[in-house]
Subunit: 404 residues, 2 copies
């Protein structure tokens, strides 16, 4: 009998009616002969409400206590889902991250999973019970409650699937799978049936919201087959797995975009060894995640360094940079929030030349100016003006023939 | 340095403002040189909201999952209080019942504390931290979350005080202490400065709402000095402790009343050995708590058995009794919901005769009919018509000179 891990997000458990729908879906998998483990996020917007309560108390809540508070959200949803499943006549048992032994480091609010103790889950599965595990949360060796940060429940699900050697990890979401481009922008965008871990990683990293890069990475490292599918329909979604012979070999899998980044440029930096290291070390120390980095060729011993960060981190990043400007002997810094990153992702790129050229000309034909370019073996990203983003997505989707 | 355990109820942490007030009070005890352990109930009416969520899912939620759900209430309040204390510049750390190791039996929704592991609390106190513990909840040996039932947070506080050998267990509430009678009924009722465990137990058992009998029993068994006081004022409240020489030796400590009971009478029961045992065994098996029991002297080999139960249990109790009526060869049963129990409590009763006579005549002088009578060495209870309850409380308070 195989093990199926299912993960349901907050919008799937937003109220009693939706929880009952999820229960039916879970029970269906069980009645088909599977051992079923379910990972659930916090009920609807409960996390936001909890954060609001915390900030009414203090503007800087200690992170350990924030995790203690936030972890109640998933604890509620697992208990409620267990009740709904038992009401359908099936045995269910819910667990917090602490109870199930999802061991993490002590980096509160963004902890990383170190190990999972699977014995209690396996013993309950053996009894025929449906096991429900709180997503997003774990526990340190000292039994302090941690949370895993954004997309944490996806990571919980994939990590559990890896540990339990599950046949499949089903991620239920409000879209039908991974698309060749955002269906809200490109009308004839197509659902991708199968995609490799590497491509999915690049798509997630460049703006596809359906799954966090972190959980895909976990899946790749442990060979977990991930099925992203809709909680509203029975149709198959997108399978994320090791690239193999039968997998469709498109040159380009999809077009992604991201408007949540901002750009900072440090102007007139002396072109000496160690400068870049210093800049990005200081940003890392301030917990700022940097995405793209471009350093132009130097001109008269001075250069400009540009990089992108998440908009939420812009103020922090700018203040780190401004403190360094005189120390570095730079001329100053500028920021730009009205940027978008647009990317082409595809494993076929490796063996096809001319993709970059085609991409740049498609943008040029639409009068879209390119600010920064960054490439990997299966991805090309361009930073453009935010106002051009929809036009650019449609142009690239059309250019590479990704539609139905 | 002594250890102080403070307990705050749900109304003390109903919103951010109130939580900040509690934080100041906690910090004051700490700054006076004490090691401080705080027990907190769930925020305001959050328990009711959680129950509502559960009953939207199913009419009979499994008790294990109900405990899982309800335990989130206190987890929220301990985290929020820790944040408020840290915002005042003091180190605080919060714990759930599971984390602190409040070991209970597996009787979900009404578990009993078996033991408390105090090592983590003591090590945090040693670091100078204020330790905040979720009330009302514990954990089984299998790490399943339990709740302690009504008044559970008081019990948590007193049990912790016992385990930690605390100097005092302060129970903060919305009244100033224990009164000679309900101040809403008797205008000149007086706050009692000191009272013995036994008297407090009888007062709690006969209707004084300020503290659950269960926590007083715990206090008595382990010699924990309990201070019931107002969270709104600095004035001392009521000390509950071992009776000693300096304790005021009133004949009567107070008048209590309870309108939450109902009476069932089984009519025409054959007067044979074993009948009463059978009746009350069946009621116990149905989880009905019986308070007063009266069996009148038999008349022509038949007798009537009357007993009182909580109103909430009346329907269940009546159906248990009705099933037995023919088996017992009884004539039938009647129920009465419009009753009140009124009680006099006082350790001095032991050595003073005539208290019962005085009580009955005070009631008679006010034309109040007595339905049932039950006595212990330090208590006399009478069941009367519900409509007479306020009149009776005032008459007895006056008769025994309990006012200011």
């Amino acid at each position: 009998m195989g093990i199926v891990v299912q993960k349901y997000g907050g919008s799937s458990v937003v109220n009693a009616e939706r929880i009952k729908v999820v229960a039916k879906r879970v029970v269906k998998a069980k009645s088909e002969g599977n051992s079923v483990v379910v990972v659930v996020s916090a009920v609807g917007d409960s996390t936001d409400n909890l954060l609001k309560m915390a900030y009414e108390i203090t503007s800087s809540p200690p992170k350990r206590e924030l995790d203690m508070l936030l972890a109640t959200g998933e604890q509620m949803s697992v208990a409620l889902l267990a009740m709904a499943i038992e009401a359908l006549g099936y045995d269910a048992i819910s667990f917090t991250g602490l109870q199930v032994g999802i061991l993490t480091d002590a980096a509160h609010t963004k902890a990383k999973i170190i190990d999972i103790k699977s014995d209690r889950i396996l013993s309950e599965l053996k009894k025929g019970k449906i096991v429900i595990v709180a997503g997003f949360q774990g526990v340190t060796v000292d039994s302090d409650i941690t949370t895993l940060g954004r997309g944490g429940s996806d990571t919980t699900a994939v990590a559990l699937a890896a540990k339990l050697k599950a046949d499949i990890c089903e991620i239920y979401t409000d879209v039908e799978g991974v698309f060749t481009a955002d269906p809200r922008i490109v009308e004839n965008s197509r659902k991708i049936d199968e995609i490799s871990y590497d491509e999915m990683l690049e798509m997630a990293a460049t703006g596809a919201k359906v799954l966090q890069a972190r959980s895909v990475e976990f899946g790749r490292n442990y060979g977990v087959c991930i099925h992203v599918r809709s909680s509203f329909s029975e149709k198959p979604g997108t399978l994320i797995k090791e690239a193999d012979a039968i997998m469709e070999k498109a040159i380009i899998s999809g077009v992604t975009h991201d408007i949540n980044e901002a750009k900072i440029t440090i102007l007139g930096v002396p072109d000496r060894p160690g400068i870049a290291a210093k800049v990005f070390r200081n940003l890392a120390d301030a917990n700022v995640n940097v995405d793209l980095i471009i350093q132009n060729v130097s001109e008269k011993d001075y250069t400009d360094i540009s990089f992108t960060v998440e908009k939420d981190d812009l103020t922090k990043a700018k203040s780190v940079v401004d403190k360094m400007v005189s120390e570095l002997g730079a001329r100053g810094s500028v920021r730009d929030e009205r940027i978008a990153k647009i990317s082409l992702v595809g494993a076929g790129m490796r063996t096809h030349s001319g993709v970059a050229a085609d991409m740049f000309s498609a943008l040029a034909e639409n009068n879209i100016n390119i600010g920064m370019i960054s490439t990997s073996s299966i991805k090309i990203s361009c930073v453009i003006d935010e106002k051009d983003v929809n036009l650019a997505v449609r142009a690239l989707h059309e250019k590479f023939g990704l539609g139905k």
